[in-house]
């Protein structure tokens, strides 16, 4: 599916089994993340609100969810709680993006079960590299379990 910027959820990548959900409220960051993720072979879904992210999380399987903390309707923290409370979503690694650079916010993210936390302003290429690292760690953990 071709990527379309704006409020419409976009999806790209034929996928190699890896799926990444990006829920980002800021249009600039969304466009940049979409561009950099589009260069990987992962299936990427980009949405703009917490509600849309929630819908996608319920209907599809994602390996990593990159969530903006200050999303409309449902915050990144709300989504993180839902993901951690739902056993079916326990495999999804969550990375939170936040404007709030205070240590308390980061601490809260990790206490709620986030796998990574990135403060704004961020370099989108670095976010993608960190998603890659989360996937490697996840694959390593799954290998150990099996």
């Amino acid at each position: 599916m071709r990527a379309v910027a704006g409020a419409v959820p976009t999806e790209r990548g034929s996928g190699n089994g890896v799926a990444v959900l990006v829920a980002e409220g800021d249009s600039t960051s969304r466009e940049l993340l979409e561009y950099y993720l589009g260069r990987t072979s992962w299936r990427t879904v980009v949405v703009t609100t917490g509600e849309e992210a929630h819908r996608h999380l319920r209907s599809e399987r994602f390996d990593v969810a990159v969530l903006d903390v200050s999303l409309e309707h449902r915050s990144g923290f709300d989504l993180l709680r839902e993901i951690r409370d739902d056993k079916q979503l326990s495999h999804t690694r969550v990375m939170l993006l936040s404007e709030d650079g205070r240590d308390g916010t980061e601490l809260k993210a990790f206490e709620l079960g986030a796998s990574d936390f990135v403060r704004r302003p961020f370099a989108p290429a670095v976010v993608v590299a960190r998603v890659k690292r989360l996937l490697i760690r996840r694959n390593g953990a799954m290998g150990e379990q099996s």
């Binding site: 379309v4 910027a5 466009e31 940049l32 370099a123 989108p124 290429a125």
Partner: protein, 370 residues
């Protein structure tokens, strides 16, 4: 209404103090009205900007990044974007330029240039109004290319803040000779002012920095030469090693201090020889920095030299030497024990004892913690 005017009228005629209060109230009223007008005006402008940004987002969809790879689509995008005011285009492009690197960044900067924004920035950078020049220079730090280097050299002699921005941009895009032209005119009367020079040199790639070092001895300011040496020690250590003997024999104390500090960042044999030479320099500040450098390098040669420096006549040299010995493991500890017992110098004995006490305290605390 007549009651109010009657009230103010009677106050006005009641005496000088009342009259003064009334004048103050009137002035305050006028100021508040002006503030309200200004706030309303800026609110209108902000609302207009938001509307324009939203219109741009609609017209320019899909975003620039989605069309970058397709030249035809990019031209169509540029044609659509070109109808909007330059301020709107800047608000759209600037965060994308700042958040990207490498090839993607170069392509967005190219679009920035094609839309005429870079030419406008260059024009504004020569403006007579310093605020306009400053704003333009803030943008040029990110978008200037080698073609703008001459302009940046000129602007580096502007007001301090503008000069710093120009120098930072020049570090990224200027030739070694152009960077040297800026360094040639820089004076650093205070240490804190060296930060922009560090930023400019850090923006240079290794190749250009190595070529700039060829002009090191021609740099007039000794403080700038010191900074150059220190940055080279960190970034191009093999080049720095070549200049150290020259720097160590320089008549300027600043340059010799730079040489001593650089020795601490290097690992070669020649830099060790320079460090040992500077450890017997006639100026205490140089010896103190040499002691630090020897501490950072470590090794048996360093420990012997540091034991000697611990008996120096200058307080800071002794202090740096014993602090460095504390970091040298068993060899340093043995040297401190020997100094604390057999040194003929009372100050050296005291300093060594203090360091040993701290070392003991640290060891005990560490053991208790583990």
């Amino acid at each position: 209404m007549s009651a109010i005017s009657g009230f103010f009228g009677s106050l006005w005629h009641s005496g000088g103090a009342y009259r003064a209060v009334l004048v103050l109230v009137a002035v305050e009223g006028v100021l508040m009205a002006l503030c309200a007008c200004w706030l309303s005006f800026t609110a209108i402008l902000m609302r207009r900007d938001r509307k324009l940004d939203a219109a741009f987002a609609r017209k320019a969809a899909p975003g620039l990044l989605a069309v970058l790879a397709d030249e035809k689509a990019l031209r169509a995008w540029q044609a659509r974007a070109g109808r909007f005011p330059k301020a709107v285009l800047r608000r759209y492009l600037e965060p994308r330029i700042m958040a990207t690197t490498g090839n993607l960044n170069a392509r967005i900067v190219d679009v920035y240039s094609r839309l005429g924004l870079l030419a406008k920035d260059m024009q504004q950078a020569e403006s007579r109004a310093w605020r306009t020049r400053m704003k333009a220079m803030r943008r040029l730090v990110f978008v200037a290319g080698p073609q703008q280097a001459e302009l940046l050299v000129r602007r580096s002699r502007d007001l301090h803040a503008i000069g710093v921005l120009a120098a930072m941009a020049l570090g990224r895009v200027g030739t070694p000779r152009q960077v040297f032209e800026v360094l040639r005119h820089i004076e650093l009367p205070r240490r804190l002012m060296a930060q922009p020079v560090h930023a400019m040199l850090d923006a240079m790639d290794q190749e250009r920095l190595a070529k700039l070092m060829d002009l090191w001895s021609e740099t007039p300011s000794p403080t700038v030469r010191r900074v150059l040496l220190e940055v080279a020690a960190r970034r191009v250590p093999w080049v720095c090693e070549r200049y150290l003997p020259l720097a160590a024999g320089n008549s300027s104390v600043e340059v010799r201090i730079g040489a001593a500090r650089s020795c601490g960042m290097l690992a070669g044999v020649s830099s060790m020889k320079v460090a040992l030479r500077l450890a017997i320099d006639e100026v205490p500040q140089v010896r103190a920095q040499a002691a630090r450098a020897l501490g950072r390098r470590g090794g048996s040669g360093s420990v012997d030299a540091l034991a000697g420096l611990a008996e120096d006549r200058d307080f800071w040299v002794r202090q740096n030497a014993v602090a460095a010995l504390r970091e040298q493991g068993d060899a340093g500890r043995r040297a401190l024990e020997e100094l604390s017992v057999s040194s003929r110098d009372d100050f050296a004995r005291d300093a060594a004892r203090q360091e040993l006490e701290q070392l003991l305290l640290f060891t005990e605390t560490g053991e208790a913690a583990s």
